[in-house]
Symmetry: C2
Amino acid sequence: MTTQVAFSVRATDGAARTGSLATPRGEIRTPAFMPVGTAGSVKAMLPGNVRESGADVVLGNTYHLMLRPGAERIAALGGLHRFMNWPRPILTDSGGYQVMSLAGLRKLTEEGVRFKSHIDGSAHMLTPEHSMEVQRLLGSDIVMAFDECTPYPADAATARTSMELSMRWAERSRAAFGDRPGHALFGIQQGGMHPDLRAESAEHLRAIGFDGYALGGLAVGEGQEMMLRMLDVAVDMLPAEKPRYLMGVGKPSDIVGAVARGVDMMDCVLPTRSGRTGQAFTARGVVNLRNARHRDDPRPLEEGCDCPGCTGYSRAFLHHVVRSGEAVAMTLLSWHNLAYYQRLMSGLRGAIAQGGLADFVATFDEGQAQGDIAAM
Amino acid sequence: MTTQVAFSVRATDGAARTGSLATPRGEIRTPAFMPVGTAGSVKAMLPGNVRESGADVVLGNTYHLMLRPGAERIAALGGLHRFMNWPRPILTDSGGYQVMSLAGLRKLTEEGVRFKSHIDGSAHMLTPEHSMEVQRLLGSDIVMAFDECTPYPADAATARTSMELSMRWAERSRAAFGDRPGHALFGIQQGGMHPDLRAESAEHLRAIGFDGYALGGLAVGEGQEMMLRMLDVAVDMLPAEKPRYLMGVGKPSDIVGAVARGVDMMDCVLPTRSGRTGQAFTARGVVNLRNARHRDDPRPLEEGCDCPGCTGYSRAFLHHVVRSGEAVAMTLLSWHNLAYYQRLMSGLRGAIAQGGLADFVATFDEGQAQGDIAAM
């Protein structure tokens, strides 16, 4: 096993690529989807089952973990991997996105962000330096630079001010991270919906030098069409020899569109959050198990899926446990959705390796459209 | 595999006995603890994991299932075993206990109980005949006679009136059940806290003839001491060659006391309900994971336990997920509690088989007492 984090591209198909991010804790096959384990748990799932669903890496949230149970406590208990019983790679965000979302409870300065905990109102400060320290204490394999996620919409002047602050914070993050063999630091491109600012940000990050590059400030309300238009120009600005990570994305069609444009890594709460509210993703579109049309349906949620919800139960049962508020509904549907997402990633990787991405995307689109008809 | 339900006692130790209840769907090792799968799911658990924890049989609730999703629907979907993905034996209660608990929403007559659904207020009627029909539609392996659970306290006149009604309903249940090879019907002894009424009830049930006999109207608020005093006299009134089932019991010490007095089967929501609120049962007493003293504790919940909560996590993690309201806390602690209960049953069976029950009980009591000290 490698002692360093090393990215390699095995095959490309148009802008899309498939390969691997090797880490001391295991290989991350790319394009990769990372389930979100916000507070030390991929919600309603046991980590062994997250792995069974096909995940190589999970994401942890610095903001949540620093407040509860606390980064020092996790470090004293042997680090986040041991704490949450997930021995494979973990990527942690910087906390920047979450603290900026605390409207009315935070204050932004050049130094960083002062904020109040959503749990107990206690005062905290996150800076690039402190974010690096928290992520080090957690033992994260892939550390994200501390940045400001530029809100949408933002005019050119606002987006520039925000991007330039993020670039100064990227420099401070890089300096504070130092040299940590076996651990990677990713920079984050900002610039709103302004291609020239995105180019300037990418150039700045490349000059600093990171182990991977993320696309920040997307999937923040601009809609899929504008996001994909931005990816058309922004992905290629990032170094081709390093992994490119699109943060917080997304719906299955977002993922397919992003991979086709050269994105290597993504994360989103959607499969687990939707699972907890009775929504399931399938090759034939979204299925809302709460809907009464499933009440007597003996068929599995999705034919051919090997998750326990599909192999063990009828749609009628899943409908029943969703309606009854049984905890097992959260587990079965989160598991199915994660299995569906990982199947999608596996399909994308195989299609790129064989030069068949266009056919794969056409079949994907056709399936999703059929689903819309079946659901009427 | 047997095509009939057949009970055999392999060994006795004092009043206690160990043996097996053979059914076409598998063997139930006795004394047996039956996890409760109220509405088609042992809450927060997948059935494969319930089995892994050591359960041979689960309980289903007629009242809940007849209202949602409905017994006819479950029958059309292939029966309760298939619906809930539990291929092994299922015991169903009669619905009597639940409908009698609907204070203000039900009316008792000689015919049965008219009641309103707690879900949507719709009007329903349960009679001995209808309860047998619902349990047949569910496909239950062990069917319970429809009875009135005598409330506590009840004076002799009230307890007699209630018991006599239950005996008339037992006769009607027996007649309505008919002849169903491979399925068992259990009668339920009533009589409140009055030994003479218990004896009369047992005699009546024996005259009707059942495949097993339950002790009803206990664990209804009388306290452990009175319950065990009643078991001292009531268990022996029931035919020794048939299984004896103490309904709705209980805490680990209740179970040990009941087994020592000759009880073969028990069920209770306690391990799963407690698990959902952060309480864990161990050989050293109850552990409340919500308590701040676990915050930094790297030790497993219980040394030597092979459940995933104990093999994969620290008490500090379990404390964190309980406090954070993570769904995984419900699963891990329910699983641990079921594993603890089944380990207790396995220990009791082994001790009885080897004639060492007194030593086993002494060690059990000592462990629980140590726990009380450790928790201070």
